[in-house]
Symmetry: D2
Subunit: 333 residues, 4 copies
């Protein structure tokens, strides 16, 4: 961490600052130039509150040169984290297809989709029970009943299930859920993240619409700081000025996150693009970029879905995609 | 709402679509061109789920031409909403200064700051008890104890208080809080918004870092749909590519939101810019743009704050700003 | 094109508007609702100046529902455009590797790199002679001398060459250049685009840092409107809030641009990411997303380059990438 | 400038690097930590090519801690630059109103508008002759004839004139133009900037749609490096995800640019917002934020303009705004 001090800093102020930083267990290097004085901090700076330092009158600017995340940092944990649920493993060379409908609607629908995606190679079933919607007038999901239907699909097919949690009070309902999903809008719901740190169940953490990779890793750090190390990162598109796609899928985040962190990274091309025609090319691109898994919306009758964007694939489209992904992974191996 | 259909749509499909839309109580106008067929929907389209319509196989794209928010819409409620707490009123020509420290720290600190900002013209005291922080290792606020200290400051000065809520379980603690603040990261925490719709207390709703004005108004709509009409909108900077300021304060949101909605709009220049030197010019600019209030961070000893960015003003700087705001408002009236 | 009129529009104004639009050869459909009147325009709206329409007092908003680009539009030209230079073809199922150094430096350097990339499968040699640099104090390229060196490399290897033009006055110098590159910062240099419309040589048009796909296609339209139909679109990353990569490579632009337009699309992963380690995964991802070509920076001695970012591959890294791309394309075919 | 080196750097490499940097006239401080080695450069780093340094194999990342602009930097030139044309001065406490139509159309139009804006207090007349348009099918301005009409308006009223240049070949036509405007799309047209550095006439440089303040100052540096120190910076809105306004006017750029640089800063609220109703509030806000001038679109018959967005004020609206600006400046003084 580097602090640039203002021009008029006195020796006494400098000594005071040095003493305070030494007290935090940090080494301090001072370099006085003609226009500015630069203070370099050496040691574990992940616990230095950067806002506190910037708040000091004598400080002009502060720059971190090492990452503020620790548990999620590959530098301190070089080996890939592997998350295993049911027969599926994600990370460390293992790859999983997560598939299912946007919303759980009826027992027939969810069991039918679960059977079809399993046959096509999916290892985990997804389905929304609690749905965050921008408008209070839009369909908000079946809620607890949706979880019951997911459980039935799990019993019918043996597929582990993943579904989204909206707040920590819902945790008791998620007993039988295999992977808990934190949606993009909740990526910085810190109270929820704290609670998820105290359970021992994988969490799939979606990147926020306007969150940097660093913030995503800091949110993973919240969960890991509580002792839960089974975090799966998920890239699902960021908000930009472009309007021809719903969001801009940031696939460079896949290799970059894997360089910075040992956590597995999956990609959701359905929500990112919002267009069924773009799901296959972006899914294949995600695999080529090194993703550890894909999360794909599949619906058995898109035209009559209660809550369903134009981004769902039909089961036969999913099966074709799944076969291509398989071939792609072989050639890349 | 306008739906553009795909080129190969049959008459039968068109009739089916028309019947379904009529069933929702909407008028339907169809215009067939050589390259596309356009369907116009007339009536209350705020309750049409746009994703549902876009999910239909025959639909190429859907565009809203009227706003999806209703309770917050000035078209249906031409008169300004005025929110009154204590002696302070916000909206409809009334203006309020909200001031106080980033974090509540000690009884002495909060009471001292409260006295100083009151003397300088503030009508509402702000202070953080629960602090959302990007890093799990940074100071997270005093929590419930902070609320107790705020209550003491309220008793000592008579100033109503505003502080941030992090989740709906904390509501019982907020009994004596006069205005509940929803932070930028929680702007789309829909469960929280729903709960706040059921209380009868003003809510200050901060715009999310990457939220459009429409989404801000839709989140206000969540609260208002529950029956709580006392919503104050707050512009606090959006995320852009610029790095010389922490966020980009979008002051054009002030007149635009007031054109679209009858709700009052306040501006927080402290968090937006992240730099004390920029607070005064941006506060004055917000007033000139028509803001109904300002929210300013004031600290009596910035250099020793527990949680405090470099954006806090000292009390004497706040007093000077407050006097300028007063003069500005007179000349603009 | 749909225009929403203000509430208080009179019948006389409406008739006036209708007459004007009919005069432009457009059909007009009018639908009067209780809160707004909607005017639909039918016909070739690509030549309607949307700002002109929006400037009318009676108009609240205008929305295009068909694309404003015509020559570049796949709807009117369903077959893929194929651009052929030397032995290389791009588009319509043909794929080309474009490779070479950021800057041309010496005859030895450029000839050596040209030989190495040709051996590894490149079909076109790239190399910068005129370099747009953010700082006036940074190296600006060899200029005309760089073009001479490129010509030598072309003679030595038979590879066609591509290099960037900075303004239309340089055109005479580009006689022997096979493909003229328009850089991201010049994507909306309309005078340059107009001039390039009058030559008969392929133009590679890079997407601007903050340009939408629509604007990219409109800039292609400038060139095509002049009669030059050999335009290659190039995605090279857009500007977002993310700072861990230099730009955000928008790979969803590849399938989306190919859906909207018949023009070939190539991807430049070197400039987008700014990091050599990310070039291979993003190059492979671009191929999986359907790109018609790749543009890769290759340098024979990155540590001593005059102008060279950390994004260059060494020749052996390029050869390995090229072989992987080949295998990937076979499995995707 | 701080360079963080990779973990495995040898002493020999370090010595080699140090020698090279010393050769550039820079002092070098090296600090070896357990996880990384940090190299601090002291001296005039504005001439260090950051890409070159980042391109070295041993370097992990490079951070500038001092600004790369020099001539434009307030640190080295503490006094405000004042630009004077005709009776108008901009900067150093002087304020000017620049007003006129989007496009010059007829002699009657431009002379009439010039008279009206002069009477209302404008000190400089603006009017577009060469118009950069996104679509090749939209009106592109009267060109050279437009410049002739502007000259007539100047003769008729005595107002100095400002108009936009599109490329350096047009310079001979701009002999009688008092201030040359560089549009947002040309902010990084470096060949144009270089040429403008060699003339002795004020240049108004508009910030690019997606340009940072640093890049704006670097483009000013291009002009100043050529010896032309009369540069006026202009904030005119940046591109963000928000769609309710055309661009997001970044008013915090006003005090921030004035802190970083001695150059005057003017604001163009017309293009930024694209909506006449927002021009007045944002113009007043710009003044309150400390702008040295305003650039306002005024048209005598907006409904019949050839090229005119919905952002133009009528002369009487401009006169009312001008009077408010005057009162505002008095109270802020």
């Amino acid at each position: 961490m580097i602090a640039v001090l203002k021009q008029n800093v006195t020796e006494a102020q400098l000594e005071h600052l040095k003493g305070w930083l030494n007290g935090l267990g940090l080494g301090v290097h001072i370099s006085r130039g003609s226009y500015q004085t630069v203070v370099g901090l050496v040691g574990d700076t992940s616990r230095v509150d950067i806002d506190l330092l910037q708040g000091l009158d004598m400080v002009e600017s502060v720059t971190r040169i090492s990452e503020p995340f620790k548990s999620a940092n590959r530098k301190f944990h070089p080996d890939d984290t592997v998350v295993t649920v049911g027969q599926a493993s994600i990370g460390g060379g293992h790859f999983a297809m997560i598939a299912g409908p946007c919303s759980v609607e009826t027992p027939e629908q969810i069991v039918a989709v679960a059977r079809e995606v399993k046959a096509a190679g999916a290892g985990i079933l997804r389905g929304g029970a609690f749905k965050p919607r921008t408008s209070p007038y839009d369909f908000q999901g079946l809620g607890a009943e949706g979880l019951t239907l997911l459980r039935q699909a799990k019993q019918a097919t043996g597929l582990p299930i993943i579904t989204e949690i909206m707040n920590q009070d819902q945790l008791p309902l998620f007993e039988d859920v295999d992977v808990i999903q934190v949606g993009a809008r909740n990526m910085q719901n810190f109270d929820l993240l704290n609670e998820l740190g105290h359970i021992r169940k994988p969490v799939l953490l979606k990147r926020g619409l306007a969150s940097t990779m660093k913030e995503l890793l800091m949110s993973a750090e919240y969960i890991m700081a509580g002792g839960n190390e089974q975090v799966i990162l998920c890239e699902r598109g960021i908000r930009t000025f472009e309007t021809y796609t719903r969001n801009t899928l940031d696939l460079s985040a896949v290799p970059k996150l894997k360089e910075l962190s040992h956590l597995p990274v999956v990609v959701d091309p359905s929500h990112a693009t919002g267009q069924a025609r773009l799901v296959e090319p972006m899914a294949l691109a995600a695999v080529a970029a090194g993703a550890d898994g894909l999360m794909i919306e599949v619906h058995n009758d898109p035209a009559h879905a209660l809550c369903d964007g134009p981004q769902s694939l039909r089961p036969e489209q999913f099966a074709a995609l799944s076969a291509k992904v398989q071939r792609l992974r072989e050639v890349l191996a």
